[in-house]
Subunit: 255 residues, 2 copies
DNA sequence: ACCTGAACACCGTTCAAGT
DNA sequence: ACCTGAACACCGTTCAAGT
């Protein structure tokens, strides 16, 4: 359950001192609902059950309140998602721009973003299609823009790059989380790495067995199509985007 | 509703001949359900009401049957989504590889993909995180791989590029469709273009009004951050990816 | 073989009524 | 001011029963 619910209480029973952690509803003076508590509980629930595990109802249940009570603090589920994303964004540190080293700095921020999504399963789904308008998200946007522009990238290229790169990382994380969720639901596996290898193996076999006359390249390069884990694919994508940006920055020099 | 439901019928009432188009259930010899009819109806419904407008129940209603009947032809909603995506994929023509011109050919295929998503609102959401395993999707993967490899791109770079570029286009389309859906739901606007300009305007104002000391770059480049429509941003992204690929192909020469 | 009604276990959101 | 129960209008999926 939520981090806020646990309290310790000490009883005296003759010579014995009993110290218990209570988390049953009856025992505590019901804490007031706040946005903070709601977001805390949503993050716990999301980490445990994935994006679809967080409903206004399950969240109310976790907070031991009625679902309607949540709407006194949060406009709707979309706003809740925004608050959750903003919270995780605020965990990320963006470095001071080092103009000599902008390309590597950008890559590192984007790698950190993926790690952040990974640390909080379900969040990538919530972040898809979200524009940063809150403190946390804006800080990251500010930091990435700063790295680009202090590094000499033209403003228009920098702005579009930040947008596109963030979208890309989010999409990679979302795909990963879909597969992770599929594993959790399907059970049968408890090792994620092993599961991925299984999927890749089956996929490679499937590609390899297609009619070779109509799909010569898919069958011929089945190995390459299924190669690499999430990190390798992210790294490849970051290489494309960043080395592309170095080139594009020239073309957009005047914008 | 679906294209299949309308029939004309002629009655004789004394001297008058009445010709009606019936689409009420009672009048027609109920057509058998098939996968084809189900996918047809799902596409119509999705175009009209977006991704969330297609539920197994609303779909059954549109087909004038019970929701359980659908499960005789389609394993679950996920399979339905796959069939819909595969159907739209089969609308796309992939060109014969022209090795001199591989970069432009790739961009054109990816532009066509975005057009396809746009022509069928709601599909990008369904396609997110989907691996092509059916005829239609595989054809596109085959075609893109062929263009890359015949153009001299190393196999591993080609394979990862196809994956990443498809993900990118899908994510761009998904973001667009979220905004479009938001407009449809919110009503008040009936011109999509005007709506986008409104959103961009408000966003630019919001960015511009942030505390300039903490967000110097976001406030300073508010115009660039909100500039450009979907096409310009896609084009920029394709430039990054494809020019990045030309560079990466060298580094992966041996793989 | 194919289809159906009814059920099960869920959603997000609203609102009059309570403390 | 804050919280609640109950309702409204939905979901995906299953299954015994019908034709």
């Amino acid at each position: 359950m939520g981090a806020v619910e646990k309290r310790t209480k000490t009883f005296r029973a003759g010579p014995v001192r009993i110290r218990v952690t209570t988390d049953d509803a009856a025992a505590r003076p019901k804490e007031r609902l706040t946005r903070e508590r709601i977001v805390d509980a949503a993050m716990d629930l999301m980490a445990e059950k994935g994006y679809d595990g967080v409903s206004m109802r399950s969240l109310a249940r976790a907070l031991d309140t009625g679902q309607a009570s949540l709407y006194a603090h949060v406009a709707n589920k979309e706003e809740l998602d925004q608050l959750v994303i903003d919270r995780i964004c605020s965990e990320l540190d963006v470095p001071e721009p080092d103009p000599e080293n902008w390309a590597e700095q950008l890559k590192q921020v984007l790698r950190d973003c993926l790690e952040l999504y990974r640390a909080h399963p379900g969040t990538a789904r919530a972040a898809m299609g979200m524009i940063p308008t809150q403190e946390g998200g804006l800080r990251i946007a500010e930091g990435m823009l700063a790295i680009c522009i202090r590094g000499g990238v033209s403003p228009q290229a920098a702005a579009w790059f930040c947008d596109i790169a963030a979208l890309f990382v989010c999409a990679v994380a979302y795909e990963e989380q879909i597969w992770t969720q599929r594993m959790v639901d399907g059970a049968g596996h408890d090792d994620l790495h092993e599961f991925h290898e299984d999927v890749d193996g089956q996929l490679m076999a499937a590609f390899g067995q297609l009619p070779a006359d109509r799909f010569p390249f898919v069958t011929g390069y089945a190995r390459e199509l299924t190669a690499g884990d999430g990190d390798e694919r992210l790294e490849f994508g970051l290489d494309l985007l960043v080395s592309g940006l170095e080139a594009a920055s020239e073309r957009y020099r005047d914008r």
